[in-house]
């Protein structure tokens, strides 16, 4: 990770006067405070949305939520784990595009939808493994590696499909059930399949992170990789498999997006990697690793998604909505560090100006 010098926060654990138990308690408290804040923000968005539009708190909104962010949210789950360990994966959106393009390419060449989907998932495994290999075995910085594979995977998608939209005019259309997977809710409800999948994944990832020893190791790796290594945690292996998992889930999201659009082009989902990172960071996951929770990320996704719909209801230009995305992200780092900065400023003012 590009951790910066100036920016490295002075965390509570380095204050030195408290026992380690205090440190943990402090961290726990600060985490809970962050999530409580997210709940408040989410409530505010819901109140704002329903105040401005009578159709806001209806099933349509639920459907649109899933339609707009379901597949992005799925990519945020493995990303949470990767950022927790102090790494990053910027190739997620390209993997999504590559997987969709692979389905489209094979479909165009007469394959059935099931084998095509299977190959797309395998592509996810291979792509994730390549990232993992370069980061873990070769020891390259993940941000540089995944910027490279971001370009590479999108490039392969481009080679596969060129400028075509699949299904091309002379192709068979995708099977109806496949298209319906993206266009209809589960069993006639307004809950999209992507939302359902996301919720199931969120529960699985949440259980892993918060209730298993593997989850505890992720925190340990993020806080202090060497110490984690010495306590017997297989740091390299875990990181490698996280990248593979990321590849698989992004490939799966790519299939869902293809179903949702009932078509695919090579550039599907371009640029989404930064949205995914933004969601994860706003959810309270530290970019340095070692801090964050799945409920936090889920809340953050819910806030981004509902805010987007509330603002679209108000006819706010989607591009202008970027301001809010950005501000939320800035707030997510400024608020936890703001108090520290103020304290520093105050102590500096109180100190008599000796030098300079």
């Amino acid at each position: 990770m590009t951790s910066d010098v100036v920016a490295r926060p002075a965390p509570a654990r380095s204050s030195g006067n408290g026992s380690s138990g205090n440190g943990v308690a402090h961290r726990l408290r600060s985490v809970l405070r962050w999530e409580a804040g997210l709940v408040v923000v989410l409530a505010a968005v819901l109140i704002y949305g329903s105040g401005e539009s009578s159709t806001f708190l209806t099933g349509t909104t639920l459907f649109n939520l899933g339609y707009n962010v379901g597949y992005i949210a799925i990519m945020a789950m493995p990303m949470t784990f990767i950022v927790m360990t102090g790494e990053i994966d910027l190739s997620v959106a390209s993997m999504l595009g590559l997987s969709g393009s692979m389905v489209g390419y094979l479909w165009h060449h007469g394959w059935g939808i099931w084998p095509a989907m299977l190959v797309a998932i395998v592509v996810g495994v291979v792509g994730g493994a390549l990232n993992g290999f370069l980061v873990v075995r070769v020891g390259l910085p993940s941000i540089a590696v995944t910027i490279g594979s971001l370009t590479l995977y999108r490039g392969i998608a481009e080679i596969l499909l060129g400028s075509q939209t699949i299904p091309a005019p002379n192709d068979r259309p995708f099977p109806t059930w496949f298209d319906n997977l993206g266009a209809l809710g589960v069993a006639g409800s307004q809950l999209t399949w992507s939302t359902l999948f996301f919720l199931v994944f969120a529960v699985i990832f949440g259980v892993i992170l918060h209730l298993t020893s593997l989850g505890r190791s992720l925190y340990a790796i993020g806080l202090q990789p060497e110490a984690a290594q010495f306590t017997g945690i297989r740091v390299a292996r875990i990181k490698f498999w996280l990248y593979v998992a990321s590849g698989v889930f992004c490939a799966f999201a790519g299939i869902l997006l293809t179903a949702q659009n009932a078509s695919v082009t090579y550039n599907a989902g371009t640029g989404l990697e930064l949205n995914v990172v933004a969601m994860v960071l706003f959810g309270g996951v530290s970019i340095f690793g070692g801090r964050g929770t799945i409920p936090g990320v889920v809340l953050s996704i819910a806030i981004f998604a509902t805010l987007q719909i509330a603002l679209t209801d108000q006819n706010v230009d989607p591009n202008v909505q970027n301001i809010i995305t950005g501000l939320l992200l800035l707030i997510s780092v400024i608020v936890p560090n703001g108090g520290e900065a103020l304290r520093r400023l105050r102590s500096r003012l109180r100190r008599p100006p000796r030098r300079r």
Binding site: M1, T2, S3, D4, V5, V6, A7, R8, P9, A10, L90, L134, V138, G139, L140, P141, I143, A144, V145, I147, G148, S149, L150, T151, L152, Y153, R154, G155, I156, E158, I159, G162, S163, Y266, T270, G271, L274, A278, L281, I287, F288, D317, N319, V320, Q321, N322, I323, T325, G326, L327, L328, L329, L330, S332, V333, I334, N337, G338, E340, A341
Partner: protein
């Protein structure tokens, strides 16, 4: 840089040191190979016209790469450059359209807009001590949003921009495009400053070892702040040049540039973890990426191969850097053992 100084003391390893130091030469060679191979296939590749296109095409990414290098060297990153470029391009275009400002002031205003954005980045990063990746990612969205708010669905068309301004985008001086000349001047000036001035050497010190830099009395906050301001200012200048080159602008100018710029710098040998790399390298990295993509077009390889090759190139570049630094470490260790 520092590796070069240490390496000089190790006898018999000078070729390696030479290679390390000559990262720029390596890229130049690579560009030359690509150009030669391509021109064997297609004699039109080396015509003045296509070389001019090559240079203009690489110029803006190279310019942004220079600013990005300053930030990367301090172990930070600036992801907002693409949005800053878009904002400054539109602001300049808008002023041309409605205020009919003089041509020269277009560049000044572009730079100023960029410097303001860079100052906001720098201020948040240094005063609040928060990670630059998150801050500039946030600014990427905020600046793009502000841009869209100002643009408000409009666009600036070529007839609103003075001809003498767009001339910068397509005219040549002694056969070299003005764009390339301007960027080359920036590269040379910043490159010289980064090599020779104390304050800019301190940027490398900060990136190599922040704690040691702080103990050595380097004003880290101020230096990092300046790096962000320069990066913003160059992105702003990039915006003005972008407007001159394309002669039109809407709210999407520069979208997605941030990762291309980082990629160009990394291909050019700038370490993503800070402490090493040169602005010349970053600019050459941009030129190499653009040469490859132009070469594909000239070789009638489908341009669809573009991204895949650029990505592969980037991965090879960082793997190569890693291999090189491992070699240096090993040679240092063996030198240590032989003296002990």
């Amino acid at each position: 840089m520092t590796a070069g100084a240490i390496g000089r003391e190790i006898d018999g390893r000078s070729w390696l040191v030479g290679l390390l130091r000559a990262r720029e030469i390596g890229i130049v060679l690579l560009i030359a190979i690509v150009v030669i191979v391509t021109s064997v296939h297609n004699s039109h590749f080396l015509t003045a016209n296509s070389v001019q296109q090559l240079l203009s095409g690489a110029a803006i990414v190279a310019l942004l790469g220079v600013g990005e290098t300053l930030v990367l060297v301090t172990r930070n990153v600036d992801l907002s450059v693409g949005s800053v470029l878009g904002l400054s391009a539109y602001v300049v275009g808008d002023l041309f359209k409605h205020e009919h400002i003089p041509v020269w002031s277009g560049f000044v205003i572009g730079i100023a807009v960029g410097m303001v954005c860079g100052a906001v980045n720098g201020l948040i990063v240094t005063a609040l001590r928060v990670p630059s990746l998150v801050v500039t990612l946030g600014m990427l969205y905020v600046v793009r949003g502000v841009d869209s708010k100002i643009v408000n669905g409009n666009r600036i068309d070529p007839d609103a921009i003075p001809n003498s301004f767009t001339a910068v985008g397509y005219k040549n001086i002694l056969g070299v495009p003005w764009l390339a000349v301007i960027v080359a001047i920036v590269v040379v000036v910043v490159g010289f400053v980064m090599r020779s001035m104390r304050s800019s050497r301190e940027l490398y010190a900060i990136g190599s070892n922040p704690d040691a830099a702080a103990l050595a009395g380097i004003p880290i906050g101020r230096r990092v702040f300046s790096a962000f301001v320069v990066s913003g200012g160059l992105a702003g200048l990039g915006g003005a040049l972008f407007l001159a080159l394309h002669a039109q602008i809407d709210n999407s100018g520069g979208t997605g540039y941030e990762l291309t710029v980082v990629a160009a710098a990394v291909v050019g040998g700038v370490a993503i973890f800070g402490g090493s790399g040169s602005v010349v390298g970053a600019a050459l990295g941009a030129l190499l990426l653009n040469t490859v993509s132009q070469a594909l077009v000239a070789s009638r390889v489908s341009s669809f191969w573009n991204d895949a090759i650029a990505g592969g190139l980037l991965l090879c570049a960082i793997a190569f850097d890693r291999w090189l630094s491992l070699r240096v470490t090993r040679s240092l260790l063996s030198a240590e053992r032989s003296t002990a």
